[in-house]
Symmetry: C2
Subunit: 230 residues, 2 copies
């Protein structure tokens, strides 16, 4: 029984990896930088993304977002206030997004073409475990962690941080109220993923956002050869 | 392929349900009240449980805890400071506890017998999705939600709240700093699970703990016919 489950799981992941490779090629052909945001429920992915979308739009960049949740379109409605095109993916009980869901929702997205975008953000289902195993073809996987969650999350969920390209600490505005131990959090993230870029942000006050936007622009420039903004 | 996965999943859950039924019978025979604590990572399950263990011990009750995490024994070490027996279950990549893991760790637990306990707490892996599907034979499933997480969690993760017997709101001490909308949170929990008992707590200040302990005593009295304390 265990062997069969493992084999089946490998089969599912292999199929996902193939679909993700196809997505990665289409993102590259379209010249769009794709990011996959992963965190626990309640870390503040949506608030962080909402601010990111607004600030990029204000710089004249073309942005869009796909947002995964088990149920409801609350997050899509919140993000739509940024003015960017946003599409909700309801997984109905599945605890992660997979490449097939992304492909299907990109295909049928009225008015949105990858070629017309500079950045596509994918907000994953709130879950620190399963999303780590599902490649969505993204260029940058972002692990988010809030100051309220406990500084040892990277040690307890190593797969997520180990597979991430950047880490974002959210809700820095309430760090003091939560007795957040910044040094310990940074040390734990670095222990799992040495040298990873870490952004200390607050969607409420805007702290750390400029540094994050400069990083996004640099990553896009690495690909396209031309900077978005300075 | 899809059909086979669904059948396999049903098979796994059926096997888990059978093991859970066996656990439930052994908890009842031993006269121990078993609770399964489920929440997102970072909600503060460990802090809440640590305080619960200490306060129950102070009342002369016999308590123990099993604690699930993917990796590390940080939580078990924190909980052990309560003086109660605590055993860590490392799931190594599995995003939930299952009945087999519980049975195995109860069997081999040196110095701890179910018959010698009044309460056994199981702290599940931090995850709002998968633990809902795995019965651990518990009498009471507790869904925890912190004031930092967003008031719409019950709507976005209905299965957890729908299958819970009690709800605990944690970190009430920072509710104001987080602009927590209490009325909205209570309404959303009640929408998914009408009439559920809701405790508004802070492990830091002790707010709401006495009401929670009275509830535990009443639940145990319902079973044993004699109250623990008044």
């Amino acid at each position: 029984m265990t062997t069969r489950i493992v084999e089946l799981r490998r089969g599912i992941l292999k199929k996902n990896d193939e679909l993700a490779a196809g997505l990665r090629a289409s993102y590259a052909a379209a010249g769009v930088l794709v990011l996959n945001l992963v965190s626990s429920p309640g870390t503040g992915k949506t608030a962080f993304l909402e601010r990111t979308l607004k600030e990029l739009k204000a710089k004249g960049l073309r942005v869009a977002a796909l947002v995964g949740d088990l149920e409801t379109d609350n997050d899509a409605r919140r993000l739509a206030s940024s003015g960017a095109p946003v599409r909700q993916i309801n997984t109905h009980g599945i605890c992660h997004l997979d490449a097939e869901m992304i492909g299907r929702h990109l295909d049928g997205w009225e008015g949105v073409k990858l070629e017309g975008l500079d950045y596509l953000f994918i907000e994953n289902v709130g879950n620190l475990v399963c999303p780590s195993s599902y490649d969505l073809g993204e260029k940058i996987r972002v692990a988010l962690l809030s100051v309220t969650e406990g500084e040892d999350k990277p040690l307890k969920y190593p797969t997520l941080f180990n597979s991430a390209d950047a880490a974002v600490i959210t809700k820095m505005d309430i760090a003091e109220a939560c007795s957040f131990d910044r040094e310990l959090a940074l040390r734990n993230i670095n222990e799992i993923r040495p040298g990873i870029r870490i952004f200390e942000t607050s969607a409420k006050t805007g702290a750390g956002m400029e540094e994050w936007l400069v990083y996004l622009a640099a990553e896009r420039a690495l690909r396209s050869g031309t900077p978005d903004f300075k």
